[in-house]
């Protein structure tokens, strides 16, 4: 298999998988304390979801470790299980990837949920240590890349990136933030402009920058164009299927696979190098993104 970085350097368009959380919930696991507890209880479900995304055409599957930093798991009394939870998730994704061949496994790393000082009680050194612990396990278990994602504070993203560079210097790292679109441009929740984020992440050694979750694919197209204008790193974009709306039973995400197919082309034109899904997307959305990239389905 060609190394992940070589594919980026060649300018290949890659497709990543879609939502994990909403897929797990749709399989009837809606009583879990935290989605990551599934990794120890039912790793077979993770493998099943990864296989579904691969069958839909995904080149990259992510591990179910978004909330598996020790600091985040501590909220559920699971900090001691962090290593086992991260290991199990990589194993499950790797099994599905190996079966298909030629697919990459990306280790997902999400926010700690703490606000950094002085706004909250998060100590930078403690956040960084928590990220380092998680990423070291992901790396040891053999992920092809680390995706630091859904960050709302550039400072926290930089702590995670610094940790990755320290404990896994040879593994490619992507960092995606969620941005709010304002009349003055795109900003993180903490008010850092997109342009500054792109610059600082590049400077600190990210292989890819990008945006995920968000507010539907159309906003993502505009954010991607802004990222393209702001810098030269490859761009990773994982859009949600719009903001969920309350329905009779549970919630529905408004954006359909067909909409993703139509808008996916614009996303690629606006400069995205890896495209995929976030909350509310399904294997059908990923199939649609693959079609948008005029790629041959497996």
């Amino acid at each position: 298999m060609k190394p992940f970085r070589a594919r980026l350097a060649a300018g290949d368009l890659l497709v990543s998988d879609g939502a994990m959380g909403t897929m797990i919930l749709s399989k009837g696991f809606d009583t879990l304390a935290t989605l990551e507890s599934l990794n120890l209880e039912h790793p077979d479900i993770l493998e099943e979801i990864a296989a579904e995304y691969i069958a839909a055409g995904a080149d990259i599957v992510e591990t179910n470790t978004f909330g598996a930093s020790p600091m985040k798991l501590a909220g559920y009394g699971l900090a001691d299980e962090a290593e086992a939870i991260n290991r199990a998730a990589v194993k499950a994704a790797r099994c599905a990837a190996n079966r298909a061949g030629g697919r990459y496994v990306a280790g997902s790393v999400g926010p700690t949920g703490k606000l950094l000082e002085p706004y909250g009680d998060g100590k930078p050194s403690a956040l960084r240590a928590s990220f380092a612990e998680q990423i070291a396990v992901l790396a040891a278990e053999g992920v092809d890349a680390v995706f630091i994602e859904t960050m709302t504070d550039l400072e926290e993203a930089l702590l995670a990136l610094g940790a990755a560079r320290e404990v896994a210097p040879s593994i490619p790292v992507a960092v995606t933030l969620t941005f709010d679109e304002t009349p003055r441009g795109f900003f993180t929740l903490m008010g850092q402009p997109l342009e500054r984020a792109a610059g600082e992440l590049k400077h600190s050694g990210a292989d890819l920058v990008g945006t995920n979750c968000g507010n539907g694919i159309e906003t993502m197209i505009r954010a991607t164009a802004a990222l393209r204008a702001a810098g030269t790193l490859p761009i990773l974009v994982q859009s949600n299927a719009g903001l969920p709306e309350a329905a009779e039973r549970g919630v529905v995400y408004p954006e359909t696979p067909d909409f993703f197919r139509r808008k996916g082309e614009e996303l690629i034109t606006s400069g995205a190098n890896i495209i995929g899904g976030c909350c509310g997307t399904t294997p059908e959305h990923i199939r649609a993104l693959c079609a948008a990239g005029e790629r041959r389905l497996s």
Partner: protein, 214 residues
């Protein structure tokens, strides 16, 4: 600029130390604690809330303003008539079960305290049962629930139903708020009020306290 305007202006800039200093000065000069809160702290916080909604300022500014308000409240609160609060009534607040977003709820809490309510904050991920039990045990007349996830909004309805099932709806009123909610959603689940932002929450809670029979 008079002293109260200075307090409001410093609060808008998130200058925690200055707000506390100016508040102490105002008290030293014999200004009425109630007016310091209303025309200084709350006035400033209302401006901050409006600017945030318009994306003119960002969350850190709001959080620093809230910190300043909290700091000043600690000094002023014991001096307000009625000791703890101004006897306006007791409110139980929290983020609904399954939801960990507490930033907005905390701001609402700060503003309610500032306005003179006695606030019991249950934190986040609070079950409907705990909301209702706490309100009953503490004799609160209002339950205030916050939700930021479309998936957890439904749990608010359970709490509203519980209040009705336990025939507490004469004594306890329910207000809900949070970004994905609307006036219409609040009405549909049978809540008594919807709070668009922290200042509107204060207005609505004041009205609800008046309605609830004790």
């Amino acid at each position: 600029m008079n002293q109260l305007e200075r307090i409001a202006a410093a609060l808008e800039k998130g200058e925690v130390e200055t707000v506390i200093e100016l508040t102490n000065e105002a008290l030293g000069a014999g200004l009425d604690p109630g007016r310091i809160v209303d025309d200084g702290l709350i006035a400033g916080m209302t401006v901050v809330g409006g600017l945030f909604r318009k994306h003119e300022i960002f969350l850190p500014d709001v959080l620093m303003a809230a910190k300043a308000m909290n700091g000043a409240m600690e000094i002023v609160k014991p001096l307000l008539t009625g000791g703890g609060g101004r006897g306006l009534g007791r409110v139980v607040i929290g983020t609904i079960e399954g939801d960990l977003h507490d930033i907005g709820k905390n701001l609402v809490g700060v503003m309610l305290k500032g306005a003179g309510f006695d606030v019991i904050d249950l934190g986040s991920d609070v079950s409907p049962g705990r909301f209702v039990d706490t309100a009953v045990e503490s004799g609160a007349s209002v339950i205030g629930m916050s939700a930021l996830l479309t998936t957890t909004m439904a749990n608010m309805e359970k709490a509203v139903r519980l209040v009705k099932e336990r025939r507490l709806d004469e004594k306890i009123r329910v207000i809900v708020g949070g970004a994905p909610l609307s006036e219409e959603f609040a009405a549909r689940i049978g809540a008594d009020a919807y709070g668009f932002d922290a200042s509107s929450a204060v207005e609505r809670v004041a009205k609800l306290v008046g309605e609830a029979t004790r």
